[in-house]
């Protein structure tokens, strides 16, 4: 683990990604205490205040400090997206590994079904799910988890197919272990590395998907300062005060860049074959 971290720190993407991640984690943990104002404190005299010494990122249509809203909003945007991705990835990993373990007709049937589910674009699947479950952050996160699972199952299956051929799996089968034990205790830990890389990149998608759902009015609800919702609310005022919109837009992009860089860095660090 420390070895992987060292190697991650040797790639430029890894250094940059970890640096950004540190900033984001800080914002999620300490956002509320770092924020110069309360995110809901309105100030009608200071409406649409441009960025300056008082409000670094300006103030919005109700005179709320944009920087404070961003900092507080970090914790209602990023952790949910991360949790949704990794829970979806775990479910997908179990299905993918099981499919590779079973092999034969079962594998064929599961793979075909996964392919069929993937014919529904992520956003569309998430939209259908949210329209059934009802709007709100938790349901949006659940919808994201479900829409992440099939593609993760496919990635996992392709890795698990080679793990299936390893001697320790054959030994476990020969010992007469049950399918559950073999899938969860023998195979799953050995597909973890490529899975973590893939999931890290998917976090970037999940952040964007979550923000998109909030933007469409189906994710986080006002007065939350979730970033996609902030952009959606700021659109009406983009003529007078573009900074209300640009700040959360850059926050979302930075988060996505961070996880993309981390994923790429991890891929280089955990992939010894690819040393160039």
């Amino acid at each position: 683990m420390t070895d992987a971290l060292h190697r991650l720190l040797r790639t430029p993407q890894g250094v940059l990604g970890l640096g950004l991640l540190a900033v984001l984690v800080l914002a999620c943990l300490l956002g509320r205490s770092l924020a110069p104002y309360s995110p809901e404190a309105m100030d009608f005299a200071g409406r649409f205040a441009p960025p300056g010494a008082r409000h670094w990122f300006g103030a919005d249509q109700l005179g709320r400090d944009v920087l404070s809203r961003l900092l507080v909003g970090a914790s209602s945007t990023i952790p949910l997206a991360v949790a949704a991705t990794f829970s979806g990835a775990l479910v997908g990993a179990c299905v993918g590994t099981l499919s590779a373990y079973l092999g034969g007709r079962w594998d064929e049937a599961i793979t075909r079904t996964i392919d069929a589910v993937m014919a529904i674009p992520h956003l569309l699947l998430a939209l259908i799910l949210v329209s059934t479950l009802g709007k709100g952050s938790t349901n949006a996160a659940l919808a994201i988890a479900i829409s992440v699972a099939p593609s993760m199952a496919r990635v996992t299956r392709s890795v698990a197919l080679s793990v299936r051929q390893q001697d320790y799996v054959k030994a476990a089968i020969a010992r007469g272990e049950g399918a559950g034990w073999i899938v969860l205790r023998e195979m799953l830990p050995n597909v973890a590395a490529p899975l973590i890389i893939e999931a890290t990149i998917r976090v970037a998608f999940a952040v964007m998907l979550f923000a998109t759902l909030s933007f469409l009015g189906l994710g986080a609800q006002p007065p939350a300062s979730e970033w996609g919702l902030m952009i959606s609310e700021a659109r009406r005022f983009m003529h007078q005060a573009p900074w209300i919109l640009v700040a959360p837009a850059l926050a979302i992009a930075t988060t996505a860049i961070c996880f993309n860089l981390l994923g790429d860095g991890l891929r280089d660090a955990l992939n010894p074959r690819d040393e160039r």
């Binding site: 392919d115 529904i120 992520h122 956003l123 259908i128 983009m238 919109l245 979302i252």
Partner: protein
């Protein structure tokens, strides 16, 4: 490409559509505890709820409801919109036509930008141009469509007033105006794909450039231009077809958001309207049509791949 392969491909599409229809129908009509309440909201009168239950056949067992829905769908009957009381099918297919125009234009624009960009980056590997292109692709994949669209609106339509902000003009009506209205949506949708595809073209080109047959072509004394266009381009494009086919999924997702922002009356916008007004038949029809479009596009890409690459023989 044998007949058997085509048949198998055809059955895969059928199976995909079957799974999609079960999923869509199950998620929208069977899974909710009471689809009538989902439709009309918590405050509906018992009489109205009963009427909707009757109309949707909610008292029937789930498989029978699905069967009625599917057999009507196969006869081209997508049901009646709860919002407009009009047949859903014709409205959705008109909308799909506009979306295909937007999607097709985006695909073409994307290829025209991404392929040269990727090859250029590969030829100047490690130099400034390469770094520029990786910067472009990092930025491209990190801005969700709704952010790109809104930023473009502010800068291009609002600040410089170069292009109209929103709306849709049919190409048959006024071609120039139609194109002007399409530019910003097309740029938004193609940006993420440019990022993916240019990276793919770059890494494929690098692989091809290091191959023996390119060395042979050069040693044979072919002019660099010929080597590049006849040998490198063709071989680097092959894997790109696959990633483009997969990207059609992003394309469809992107279209939903972009149509909503730029007020284009395509299928994505129709779907969002359906979801916000809880118009169940429209949600089901929109979702099935979009997924079917994706499945068909993927199959076409598969066939194109085999046609371009004579080495692949599926049996």
């Amino acid at each position: 490409m044998t007949l058997a392969w085509l048949l198998r491909r055809f059955f895969t599409v059928l199976y995909t559509l079957l799974v999609v229809s079960v999923l869509v129908f199950g998620l929208t009509q069977i899974l909710p505890a009471d689809a009538a309440v989902t439709l009309l909201g918590e405050n509906a009168t018992p009489a109205a709820l009963a009427a909707v239950r009757e109309r949707l056949g909610l008292g029937d067992p789930a498989w029978l409801q699905y069967w009625h829905w599917l057999s009507a769908l196969l006869q081209g009957d997508f049901g009646t919109s709860m919002r407009t009381s009009q047949p859903v099918g014709p409205a959705m297919f008109t909308a799909l036509g506009r979306s295909l125009l937007l999607g097709g234009a985006s695909l073409v624009v994307m290829l025209v930008i991404a392929v040269p960009l990727g090859m250029w980056a590969a030829l100047r590997r490690g130099k400034a141009a390469d770094l520029m292109s990786s910067l472009v692709s990092y930025l491209g994949v990190s801005f969700p469509e709704f952010v790109t669209a809104t930023l473009l609106l502010i800068v291009v339509a609002d600040y410089f007033q170069l292009l109209p902000a929103t709306g849709y003009v049919p190409p048959g009506e006024d071609l120039a105006d139609s194109i002007r209205h399409l530019i910003l949506p097309v740029v938004t949708v193609s940006l993420i794909m440019v990022a993916h595809v240019s990276r793919m073209v770059r890494s494929e080109t690098i692989d091809v450039l290091n191959s023996d047959y390119i060395r042979a072509a050069r040693l044979k004394g072919l002019p660099p231009r010929t080597v590049l266009l006849r040998h490198v381009l063709r071989n680097a494009l092959l894997p790109t077809v696959t990633i483009v086919a997969l990207d059609v999924g992003y394309l469809l997702g992107g279209i939903i958001v972009v149509e909503e922002i730029f007020a284009i009356p395509g299928i994505g916008r129709a779907l969002i309207v359906a979801i916000t007004s809880r118009d169940l038949p429209s949600i089901q029809a929109g979702a099935v049509i979009m997924a079917a479009t994706y499945a068909v596009a993927n199959t076409l890409a598969d066939i194109a791949y085999v046609l371009i690459d004579r080495r692949i023989r599926y049996d």
